[in-house]
Every structure is written in C-alpha cells, then in structure tokens.
C-alpha cells in the first residue's frame, strides 16, 4: 500500500488542485459545491473555479446567509446532500407493459459514475449511514442505490470552519474526515495538504505532476486547522448512551411542547442527509397499457405516512416528531448499529420556524 501511495501525503498549490480536478473530470461526473441562487448547492460542475471559494455560509436556526472570507474551502457542507444523487428524490424503478395477456417488466437503472468532490466529514459519515441502510445492513440490497454508489470517487475536505448549527463534535462525526474517502484535502497556509485514503486515491495522487512531498509540520498544521473548526462548536449532549436515555422518555411531556411549534412541513426530513424514507407510486397512462413504478422521497411527517386501512397511526404532530427524533438517535442505532444523525445541522437551518433538534434532545432527556 505504502508503495502505491496510500498513507503518503503531498502538498499541492492551486495548480495541483486543478490538475487533480481535470484528471478526475476525465473519468467521472463531478459533483461539487457550487454557488446557486445565493446558496451553496452540490451540483454537477465543469471546472474547479465553479466551487464557492472564498464564500462562507452563516447558519442559524431557520436562517442561511453567505458572507465572504479569506481562503478557498471557507464554507462547510452544501445545502443539499449526496442523498440527492444516490437516492434521487424521484426515480423510476421499472416500467411495466401489458403484452400477450401478461406483463413485461423493464427495470430502469440510473447512470451514476460520480466523483463527489469536496465532501465534509458529516456527509462522509452520511454515506456510511446510507450504505448500511440500502446495502450492507439490508438483506435485499438496493440495486438502484448500489448502481449509483459503486465506484463513486470521494474527495473529502476537512472543515476549518463551523456554523453555529454544526454539531459534529457532539455526534462524533467530524470535523475530521476519518474514513470512506479516496483523497482528503486540508487547506493549509501554504497550500493544500492531500492524503490518500484508498489505493486508487493513492495512485492518482502519485501520478500528479504539480505536487511536493508534505512534511511533518504540515500534518501539525492540519491538526491546528481542524481545531479552529472544533473551537467553534460546543458539545450539546453526550451521544454515548443517548438511545437508552431517549427510550426512557417516550412519554415525555416535552413532545407536546414541540407540537406547538412544529409545522409538520417535512423540511427537516428532506434536508437530512440520511433520512431515507420513500413512497412508491404507480404512474399510468390513460389507456392503462403502461405503468411506471416510481420511488419518491417521503417523510414520517406526511399526513398519510403510517396509514393502515385509511387511518394514519400517527395522527398527532407530536407523535410524528417523536418518531423522527427517536428514529434518528435511538431506533437507528438498533437498526443499523450507528446513529442516524451526523451533526450537520441541516434540519436546524432549514426548519422554516427554526426548531433546533439539539435543544429538543437536551430538553427531552433532561426534563423527561
């Protein structure tokens, strides 16, 4: 491995980063953060210059704004997440046609071949979560997800900044990217530190022309830069043992207090990089000769989500909020051996009325 380059680190200037970008562009569809309508969104990009270098997202509960800042990777994660690419919000699973008195099925697979460029630690962890949900912890692995995910090249970036909604130090998912990437970038004063996390990442890194060997001091600088991000986040609650504490609070009075503020609008679940729930619709043409089976994002806040015999088991908004929070922090651990929350804070930012899940968790476990 050492010889192939995994584990070795290099220092790149902007030209080196561009070289890397073009090399990846030769083989992949590049998905990276991009400035769009005053926010940063993961989008397909054509050049490195499209990345929102020098912009800084300012986030508070129910609030988002962009400022300017000195440097390149000055922002955190984009508004949307990689879920949008690996578990598309609307995906045709198969087309069904009537033929010879029977049915003919055509399974439709989407095209992937992604390189996710500039993935932060929280979203990297979200990839691991989705991998487990759809494939590794699923006895019927989802071939659609797998088709999009397999072979995806991941370039991670260490965060050197955090918004006031970030809480990855609480969930233990960041700000340092630890696993699940091919290459890792940390922006230092004199350039970009690149580390390989996989063999193919190492091979690519070795083959770059514009690079020089990184020294011990660069790795120290990396630690310092990560600490800059860490210092911006407080620890909100102890994640260790949280499921058990929450299981004891199923009847907390606080759920009803949340109902007074919650719109049940589904925004939190849709913004979440790990919320995977979906519905399957049947789309027909007028003559009903053809039908498409379409998978669309759904939400436990939807009014018909848990409907049995035309009656939704979760009538009240507080029961839906409880389902969401309990699933994310407690049920998820039982189901997939890890927490469903990656500490990105998207649900806090994108809640139109600014409900802060960190506060709700704290209150539920404190007040009971």
């Amino acid at each position: 491995m050492e010889g192939k380059g995994k584990g070795r680190s290099y220092l790149l200037k902007y030209e080196g980063l561009e070289e890397l970008f073009w090399r990846l562009k030769e083989n992949y569809r590049l998905i990276a953060p991009k400035l769009k309508g005053g926010v940063i969104l993961y989008s397909e990009v054509e050049s490195l210059g499209e990345l929102p270098f020098g912009y800084r997202n300012v986030e508070m509960p129910g609030f988002y704004r962009l400022d300017r800042a000195e440097g390149f990777f000055t922002y955190t994660h984009p508004v949307n997440s990689l879920k949008a690419f690996l578990h598309p919000s609307e995906l045709t699973l198969m087309k069904v046609k009537i033929s010879d008195g029977g049915l003919e099925f055509e399974v439709c697979y989407p095209e992937g071949n992604f390189c996710f460029f500039d993935v932060r630690a929280c979203d990297l962890f979200a990839l691991e979560v989705l991998d487990r949900v759809f494939v590794h912890k699923n006895s019927h692995p989802d071939s659609y997800y797998r088709k999009l995910r397999e072979g995806a090249f991941v370039v991670a970036v260490n965060c050197t900044y955090a918004t006031s909604n970030c809480f990855c130090t609480t969930t233990g998912t960041g700000p340092e990217a630890r696993e699940g990437y091919d290459l890792l970038i940390t922006e230092l004063r004199e350039g970009f530190l690149l580390e390989a996390g996989s063999e193919r990442g190492g091979v690519l890194l070795e083959s770059l022309e514009n690079k020089r060997e990184a020294r011990e001091e660069h790795l120290l600088q990396k630690r310092e830069r990560l600490r800059e991000a860490e210092a911006l986040m407080e620890r909100h609650f102890e994640i260790e043992g949280l499921p058990d504490r929450l299981y004891g609070r199923m009847d907390s009075q606080h759920w009803k207090h949340i109902e007074k503020r919650c719109l049940a609008c589904t925004s939190c679940t849709q913004s979440c990089p790990t919320c995977f729930c979906f519905d399957i619709l049947e789309k027909n043409n007028l003559e009903l000769r053809e039908s498409e089976r379409v998978r669309v994002w759904d939400s436990c806040f939807s009014p018909a989500f848990a409907t049995v015999h035309r009656y939704n088991i979760r009538q009240s908004v507080h029961s839906r909020y409880r389902q969401w929070l309990m699933h994310k922090f407690a049920y998820w651990v039982d189901q997939f051996d890890l927490s469903g929350c990656v500490g990105c804070g998207r649900c806090i930012t994108w809640c139109p009325v600014g409900i802060d899940i960190r506060q709700e968790v704290k209150t539920v476990i404190r007040e009971g």
Partner: protein
C-alpha cells in the same frame, strides 16, 4: 425481460384455483415451486395499482394460497382475477411462526377476521407436529364473513377448533360474543404458547386476559399489520419503535413489541 438484482422484481404464477369465501374475499391457489414458511407474506402486484402485502395462507404441492379481501385499489383488482389468469408477486418476506417452541406443549392459536389467513398454515403444520395439545380460536364479526367454512369439519375432528361470532344468525348454532369469552373459559398451562393475528385492539385484549391466566408474554407471538411499501426494510413506512414490521416481523414476541405496540401513536 427481468434484469437480475432489483429487489422489486416480480414473479409470475397462474391462478389454478379460485374460491369465493364471502363478500369481497377470495382465496387464490397460485402455481409456484417457490419455498416459503408459515407466517411469511408476499407482495402481490396489481398492474397499474401497486402492491399489497398478503400473508401466505397455506401451501400445497406446487401452489401457494392467498386469501385477499378487496379493501384498496390493489386488492380490489386482484379479486377480479379468474382461474387461468396470471398473478405477479415478490417474496416471500418476513419471519415465521416459531412452531418448534410449542413442541411438547399446548399451542393456542387466536385469530380474528381475516387474521385466520395468517394462522391457517401454521395450524395445518401444527396438526402434523409433536404439539401436545392444539387449540384454535377464531372470531368472526358475523356469519356472512366466515372464512374457510369448508375446512371446519376436518379441523374440528383433529383439534380443538372453536368459532365465536360477533352477532347471531339463523343458521348459526354456535357461540356468539367476543373471542375473549372463549379464552376466559380455557384451562391453560402456564407454558402454553400462543400465536395470534387480528385487529390491534383484539390482540391487546387477548394478551391482557392471557397474562391474567398466567401465560408469560415471552410465549405469546402476534402477527402485526402496518403500512408497507418496500417490504425490505428501506421505505420506513411500517416502523414500530426500532422494528421494521416488514422484515423484523410481521411476527413479534409480545414482550419485545409491547413497549411500542401498546403505546399510543408509535
């Protein structure tokens, strides 16, 4: 052509026999060599309508049995199938009744309404197994909705099979009342194993009574019904507490599910 690998791929089988059970309820024998076990279910597909999870009511030489009540779009269309028509489905899914646990002990089956479809097969298997004593209680809301009347004579001759109706009928000579009345009268050993399937309130009432009669919830198993779309633990609709009813169930040991099943809106 079916491309390998999609968890939503469907299988095809012929309806080889069709039995009208009652108003809006039909039983289908579908030709297949697929293996399945009592307690499992299939996702039946109706073209242009979608899928519905339906328990496998029984299995014979080269066919499986499904009993379908027309309550929604999918089931209404499936119920229009005729003998010789093709039916599409995927499965089997879900866990199975733990029949071995009842070997050498008393096995009590309790079913309400269409829940009989979920206990029928395991009852048939239990008849051939070393269960010491076999009881089967079945509650139906009325005479018109009795399921599988053509099997009762055989069942009654081989095991203690009792029916209770929600309301009386001129042709009905048997009991009228609630299924709990039948349980009340039973002498049961403490290690009796119970399998039940029926509407949620029925299951809750039966368990309460059984516990009073000294039966431990570890020995009670309930087959639950929840909204299912994918049946493979990914769509999230059927969750109850940390469980996916589609793959961790549909059968749950009662002491493990009680916390979530008995609490409102979980």
């Amino acid at each position: 052509m079916l491309v390998c690998g999609s968890p939503y791929n469907l299988k095809e089988g012929l309806v080889v026999r069709l039995i009208r059970e009652c108003e809006n309820v039909y039983t289908f024998h579908i030709a297949t060599e697929e293996s399945a076990q009592p307690g499992q279910y299939n996702m039946l597909y109706a073209f242009g309508m979608g899928e519905a999870p339906i328990t496998i009511a029984s299995k014979g030489e080269g066919y499986i049995v499904h009993t379908v009540r027309a309550v929604g779009d999918v089931t209404r269309h499936i119920d229009q199938l005729k003998e010789g028509d093709r039916l599409y489905w995927r499965g089997p899914y879900g866990n199975i009744w733990e029949l071995e646990k009842a070997f050498g002990r008393t096995l009590l089956l309790i079913s309400g309404g269409l829940g009989l479809a979920a206990t029928r097969w395991v009852f048939e298997e239990a008849l051939r197994s070393p269960v010491r004593r076999l009881l089967h209680l079945y509650g139906s809301k009325d005479y018109e909705n009795l399921l599988y009347p053509y099997l009762y004579e055989d069942w009654s001759s081989k095991a203690e099979f009792h029916i209770i109706l929600g309301r009386s009928h001129p042709h009905w000579k048997g009991r009228v009342g609630l299924i709990t009345e039948l349980i009340e009268e039973l002498e049961l050993e403490e290690d009796t194993v119970v399998f039940t399937c029926g509407p949620d309130p029925m299951v809750k009432a039966c368990v309460k009574l059984l516990e009073r009669k000294g039966i431990h919830p570890e020995n009670i198993y309930a087959s639950l019904e929840r909204h299912m779309k994918c049946s493979v633990g990914t769509c999230g609709h059927c969750m109850i507490g940390p469980y996916f009813v589609c793959k961790d169930g549909p059968i749950f040991r009662y002491d493990l599910i009680r916390e979530y099943f008995e609490r409102e809106e979980v």
